[in-house]
């Protein structure tokens, strides 16, 4: 089972510098949280989707479609509970709260897509190097990338363990919630233990390869900010500035919305 998100192809987005891709992700986050009105989120959303299209990273979004669907449904309902407005529609839903919940849902989905754009187009090492060049200490960068690396390892051990327990007669699909939670114990304990054992070897192997031997360290991966990076960077600043300006003028809020 391959659960790595990085897609090893050559696209315009892949060719961008790691730093640019990280900044794109951070900028999109800032731009998204500024607005409450879905209409203002829409253009930023289109930009993120364009990036996704150019990176040919739609497959990764498709892979998590079930998660996204669940998030969409629960988020659209939930935000209505936490907000109210003046124009009542039905039940606990007002026009303003509906718009607000749509905006929040878009925010969550777009954040995930933007994050996926980053992971789909950036190698783990490039991500670390990008973070370090942006000022993060190497060890912190490495820790982040290691935890990303752990995800596929753990999910493949969950897969094996659930097969082992199923063949002993464990049926995870039946029973009420309480019973089901109890059934997960035979999965969780072996997952924890094998992960801990694996991490131990990982730590030893890491030390044995001289991790942290020198204050300074070189990077084989070359990374240069090129003209296209500066262009993307400039474009991002422009979008950000516009967003902040509009926001400061009071655009993008929903009139008559009360948040709890």
């Amino acid at each position: 089972m391959n659960i790595d998100f990085f897609i090893d192809i050559d696209t315009v987005v892949h060719r961008l510098d790691g730093r640019t891709k990280i900044l794109l992700f951070l900028f999109s986050f800032v731009a998204l949280v500024l607005f409450e009105d879905p209409l203002y989120i829409l253009p930023i959303g289109l930009l993120i989707l364009t990036q996704n299209f150019l990176a040919r990273a739609w497959v990764n979004i498709w892979r998590i479609r079930i998660l996204l669907t669940i998030l969409t449904i629960s988020s659209v309902i939930m935000w209505n509970v936490f907000a109210s407005g003046e124009t009542h529609l039905f039940w606990f839903v007002d026009l303003e709260s509906l718009l607000y919940s749509l905006a929040r849902t878009m925010l969550i989905l777009l954040m995930i897509i933007s994050g996926m754009n980053l992971l789909s187009t950036t190698r783990n090492e490039e991500l670390v190097l990008g973070m370090i060049k942006l000022g993060l200490p190497y060890r912190v960068g490495f820790a982040i990338s290691t935890s990303l690396r752990m995800v596929p390892t753990i999910s493949s051990s969950i897969y094996t363990i659930s097969q082992a327990q199923r063949s002993r007669g464990l049926d995870l699909e039946s029973g009420n919630i309480l019973e089901r939670i109890k059934k997960y114990i035979p999965l969780l304990i072996p997952v924890f233990i094998s992960t801990i054992r694996g991490t131990n070897v990982f730590g030893m192997a890491l030390e044995s390869k001289g991790f942290g031997a020198r204050e300074e360290r070189t990077f084989y991966l070359a990374m240069e900010m090129e003209r296209r990076d500066w262009l993307v960077f400039a474009f991002c600043i422009l979008v950000m500035a516009t967003a902040i300006y509009l926001n400061s003028l009071g655009y993008g809020d929903i009139a008559g919305l009360t948040k709890f």
Partner: protein
């Protein structure tokens, strides 16, 4: 400067929280350029000794330490692991956990990067070491997509890129098929030619040690003997006593009380021609006739695969049309290269996986319609790694788990747990914590937990991997006994001697297809076809093939030898 690469003086180590010494007064010198193999039973202290060499002990794994370990004159107490790593490289058994990068080149770059080696120089080292281990064409591949043997070669290349003067390998080939194993040892032998590198390798398989200079035998944390390879390998009885598998060829000559003990198949054939012994054609024919007779008495058809194909959700086609029949009471081995599809095949036999094309029947029942819950009652499956299933605090509860899930009454559970424990030789362990047992103990708990459900068929995935010779033997003797009592046994394995001595029938899988099948003797007589699927029979069987007859064990051959 000293000419010793490794100097260990009266070294003792006790892990924190344990009472017994893991290493108890080790003294060992390895000179520069030497190739030393370290052998011993499980828990003898091999891995602890390896970890002591580059300072993982005492810096990473804490405990009480006495005596000295010095590598190229550097004391491990005074130097951090990361600093030592420039001089002493380490390759671990677990090839998944020691690779961290997203492509092959970057994996090799990782070590030199830590020592701030210039980019151009790293580039040169990548080229050199990729070529050295023969992975040039994989340079842009993610390590996770490589086969087990390739991963281990990559691990070696990534350590060599740091240009260490001492290389320690802790059971580098345990999880590999025979030819991948040989591939790794070919690299080791290549390294041996170089006098700028000292090698210390922990190895279970005696056949692979023939090219080393010396063997050190370790037991209960003490070095029992160190000597030239050929001397030690000829001491058949002593090896057996140490829990190390003696080579079949010297064992045969030893049992025949012949004064000269050849080691390799070639030497064996040469020596055999001098003995004046003859293999009785009559007795060999008798052996074959007995086998044919047993085959005719076979039981009912139990498992049937019809044009079985399996494609994983990611599009990888793991099985490409397999037809096979397994009969009641058989003991069958499924063998093949890492990634050939043998585990995928085994998982179809208890309905953990269902065919994407074709059909599998167990006892006439369609696996796709019945599912693993139903089929699982008839076909038990023991996974390779017992840690993937053990979760209870008591051995008793672990074994009762499957029974409780199937609502067996408590009194009966009591009885069945007792029987299962007896079958695996763990009577009296009911109230023990399974996690405190050794690997082989945990393996037995896993087998018992499956046995308790009383399946007709038992599938074992790599039942002997990670065990030492004595543990492997007792595991397989237990399996044999279960078979004698009526269980049908199917096991997946890389260990060819286990196949030779315990399987009656063999299925060879290659690239998702059934390449060969037949009695073990038939299959092992076809060496060329086996090599094609990355397998080769044990030295002893190769030796007998060279003599024109296929014998599976020395005892079998002895019974057919006629002295003049």
């Amino acid at each position: 400067m000293t000419d010793q690469a490794i100097e260990i003086k009266d070294f003792k180590f006790r892990y924190r929280g344990t009472k017994e010494l893991a290493l108890d007064g080790i003294s060992l010198n390895v000179s520069k350029g030497e190739f030393l193999v370290l052998m011993g039973a499980s828990e003898a202290g091999k891995s602890t000794l390896c970890a002591s060499m580059n300072g993982l002990i005492p810096h990473y794994q804490r405990g009480k330490i006495k005596g000295n370990v010095s590598i190229l004159g550097m004391d491990t107490r005074e130097n951090k692991v990361a600093d030592m790593s420039e001089y002493i490289g380490m390759v671990f058994q677990d090839f998944e956990a020691q690779l961290f990068s997203t492509n092959v080149e970057l994996e090799i770059a990782f070590g030199p990067e830590n020592f701030a080696v210039e980019r151009e120089e790293i580039g040169r080292r990548i080229e050199k070491n990729l070529a050295y281990v023969g992975l040039e064409e994989f340079r842009n591949r993610p390590p996770s997509t490589l086969s087990g043997g390739q991963k281990q070669k990559l691990a070696i290349a990534s350590v060599l890129a740091m240009q260490p003067q001492v290389l320690v390998m802790d059971e580098p080939t345990t999880d590999l098929d025979p030819i991948s194993k040989q591939g790794v040892f070919d690299i080791v032998n290549q390294l041996r030619q170089r006098d700028d590198i000292t090698l210390l390798v922990v190895e279970h398989e005696t056949e692979e040690t023939l090219n080393a200079d010396r063997i050190a035998l370790i037991r209960d944390g003490k070095i029992v003997r160190v000597g030239p390879v050929r001397d030690i390998l000829r001491d058949v009885d002593f090896l057996e006593e140490m829990g190390i598998m003696p080579l079949g060829i010297p064992r045969l000559f030893n049992q025949m009380n012949y004064p000269v003990l050849p080691l390799t198949p070639k030497e064996g054939v040469e020596e055999f021609s001098k003995t004046g012994w003859k293999i009785s054609g009559e007795k060999y024919a008798q052996l074959l006739a007995n086998e044919a007779g047993a085959d005719e008495k076979k039981g009912n058809l139990l498992i049937q695969c019809k044009d079985l194909e399996h494609t994983y959700p990611n599009g990888v086609k793991a099985l490409k049309g397999i037809d096979l029949d397994i009969y009641q009471g058989e003991i069958v081995a499924i063998v093949g290269q890492n990634g050939s599809g043998k585990t995928t095949l085994a998982k179809h036999l208890n309905a953990l996986l269902t065919p994407t094309e074709g059909e599998v029947f167990v006892n006439g029942l369609h696996t796709g319609e019945q599912g693993v819950y139903e089929i699982g009652k008839k076909v038990g499956y023991v996974f390779q790694n017992p840690d993937h299933q053990i979760f209870s605090e008591l051995v008793y509860d672990e074994i009762a788990f499957g029974l409780r899930l199937r609502d067996v009454p408590e009194e009966e559970i009591d009885q069945r747990v007792k029987e299962a424990l007896e079958a695996v030789g763990l009577t009296g362990f009911e109230q023990e914590d399974p996690f405190s047992l050794t690997k082989s103990g945990r393996q037995r708990v896993a087998v018992a937990s499956v046995l308790a459900v009383k399946p007709d068929v038992l599938i074992l995935d790599e039942p002997t991997t990670g065990l030492d010779y004595i543990e492997q033997r007792s595991m397989m003797e237990m399996v044999k006994e279960l078979n004698r009592q009526g269980s049908t046994i199917i096991f997946v394995t890389h260990h060819m001697w286990v196949v030779a001595e315990y399987a009656k029938k063999v299925f060879v899988i290659k690239d998702g297809k059934l390449l060969l099948s037949g009695s073990t003797r038939e299959v092992f007589s076809k060496e060329d076809e086996l090599i094609e699927s990355f397998l080769r029979p044990p030295h002893f069987v190769q030796f007998s093939n060279l003599l024109g007859k296929t014998f599976l064990t020395p005892d079998e051959m002895i019974s057919a030898i006629e002295k003049d």
